[in-house]
Symmetry: C2
Subunit: 388 residues, 2 copies
């Protein structure tokens, strides 16, 4: 791994991958320690002289480090293509943007799919159960490695937003601004319930083989597909499902009176399930959903959100979407109220959009403008940004 640290060029190839923790193991919330772990990441833009223009982008449950540009594995564009890039809200002409695959995932960072250096076989369920704090802990090591003292901003949607909040709480001197979008400060009972359905679907698949499917030719595709289908419903609003599909039939004029996908919405969901298994590892799905379910930023503070945020120097910009029923506006408002109560600087916008939770991944000019404006204001205040 060779990177000219102060100037990392955009590239269209695969990610950089760095092995960390060798001299200083990463000790996890569970108490287990990783004495060596890999983090796959991508960077765009140029780190400025005083290293004050770095923005860390945190991905969601099934995301990866390919936030913008082309994803070399799928050949499709990254997952936040309209937000990050030259001249866009997160302007890679101004900012140095970093996105890393979270610990436990399956796109190059250490996780159940990767080789356990101690046994030279894939971890499977021997990979330690991780938390959002552990994902962030690994990101801190990456930022150390890139020799960046303080991030100009950390931004992310959904589980990405959980990481953002975790950064602000655990490492508040190392992040100037935090932008959690369509996110929450703790997973609710309903959130946990939906994830548990997905995990049970995977573990019920005989091909799962207690997580050791890599020893055979069979993968728990059917179970993972059902898990994805169940989750996908929670990413869309009832209204968007209705306006997109309603009761429209799929390539047929009449009901067939069978168990085929008569309705477009069935066909769409089946496609979501089937296409997902090609790009995602079932064990990683277990680990990451578990990390999300364990997430409660107040837990380490005797359940007090105020205590978690007390004295924070981080400036927050929080966004939610009216039609998001997975992580509702109310949950964002609880964050906002707590931040106000501790005298923190916070701006909050509930964006009117009817596409449900996944709105944060869609074309949303209002969100883009808010991010752009918030960053620009902070850069002006800071006086440190390259366009000043």
């Amino acid at each position: 791994m060779t990177v000219e640290k102060n100037k990392i060029e955009m590239d269209d190839g695969f990610s950089e991958v760095v092995t960390l923790g060798i001299d200083d193991p990463l000790c996890l919330t569970s108490g287990e320690c990783l004495s060596s772990f890999k983090i796959a990441y991508k960077c765009w833009g140029t780190l400025n002289g005083d290293k004050s223009n770095a923005i860390l982008v945190c991905h969601a449950l099934t995301g990866d480090q390919y936030a913008c540009g082309q994803n070399p594995i799928t050949g499709k564009e990254g997952w936040w293509p309209k937000l990050i890039g030259p001249g866009l809200a997160i302007d890679t002409d101004k900012y140095f943007v970093i996105c890393s695959n979270v610990l436990g995932s399956c796109s190059g960072s250490s996780g159940p799919k990767e080789m356990n250096p101690e046994t030279n076989e894939p971890y499977g369920l021997d990979f330690p159960v991780i938390t959002i704090a552990d994902m962030v802990g690994a990101q801190v090591r990456l930022i150390d490695y890139l020799e960046i003292d303080q991030l100009f901003s950390v931004i992310g949607g959904s589980m990405g937003g959980m990481q953002v909040i975790q950064w602000a709480v655990d490492h508040n001197t190392r992040v100037k601004t935090a932008i959690p979008i369509a996110s929450t400060w703790r997973h609710s009972a309903q959130n946990i319930a939906f994830h548990e359905v997905g995990r049970q679907a995977i573990m019920a698949d005989p091909n799962w083989q207690n997580g050791r499917y890599f020893e055979t030719k069979n993968r728990p595709k059917a179970g993972l597909s059902v898990a994805r289908m169940a989750a996908h419903i929670t990413y869309m609003s009832e209204k968007s499902l209705t306006s997109k599909f309603g009761r429209n039939l799929q390539d047929r004029e009449k009901l067939t009176f069978g168990f085929d996908a008569d309705f477009q919405v069935e066909s769409y969901l089946r496609y979501q399930g089937i296409s997902f298994v090609d790009r995602f590892d079932a064990n990683s799905y277990l680990y990451i959903t578990r990390a999300m379910d364990y997430y409660d930023i107040s837990a380490e503070f005797d359940g007090s959100l105020l205590a978690a945020l007390d004295n924070t120097p981080v400036k927050f910009c929080i966004m939610s979407f009216t039609s998001d029923w997975l992580y509702t506006t109310e949950e964002s408002r609880e964050m906002v109220r707590a931040l106000n109560a501790v005298g923190a600087q916070v701006s909050f916008v509930e964006i009117e959009m009817d596409k449900g939770h996944d709105s944060f991944l869609l074309e949303c000019p209002e969100m883009f403008n808010i991010i752009s404006g918030f960053l620009a204001a902070e850069a002006r205040f800071d006086g440190s940004n390259s366009d000043e």
Copy 2:
């Protein structure tokens, strides 16, 4: 089958089962006809001399004919124990109450689990795909058999409410009043999506064996359990899950950093899944969810709900629950608006209750009072009831 038709006594044994359709096959929406089918049913109370006091109770997706009294199979009380009985809102001292297991289900009525009289083996997927209209068609045959011309009322919640609406539309001279609760006039894209997840979970289970599991010792328990878990989340409100479970741990003080049921909500859901497979047939789950997905009362009327309800002589009492996100108040309001637009008699109450869709099955004095009052008012108007 011997029943003294004008006076059927309550009994604590199993249901009556009648074989129908022999002289006059039941032709289904699909075009297929059942030349012989069984309906299992229970009755409570006494049919009066002019047979004007009969109330048909329609059950929901996984319900059965044991609406009140003891369920002889589970040993538990029926599913509407506080609503139906002597002195209760549906007073069996006044009314003759009938509840039958729907066609396609698995509690004695013909369905995929039952023997196909033509082959002398279980139907499995050879059972024809049925609709809510077909369930009601079979109930009409039962009512014919009981020699009742007109039902005083038809009542049901959820899928039971769909049957109620179907009765009022298809057989409007045979039902005086209709009480659909927590129901809808057509299944939405989101409703279909959740059901499709359940079906895919069942069909992904290798033990399903294309529906012919009865030929082996294995049943698709894991798949059916996952289906039930996913559905169960939709029966509860986010608020009720939070107030019942929150993030409470299950019989432990700390997170275990594993994939056990750490949280109470996980343990609860797993129990819902596991206990369900003992009492329900996986193929019936496919058939009944399909019937619900096919349900759109306006479909036969070029998509016009008004046309479906035009000139109806049936008097409606519609109830919804504030916290029901499966079949929302808005869907009930659409029915109410349409009924008002066609000049029908309708009363509507949205009941403030935070328990979600399953509220209709719970202790709800407001609902009980509304039903009791509506039935009493109609009985007074009618002058035909036994207490006049």
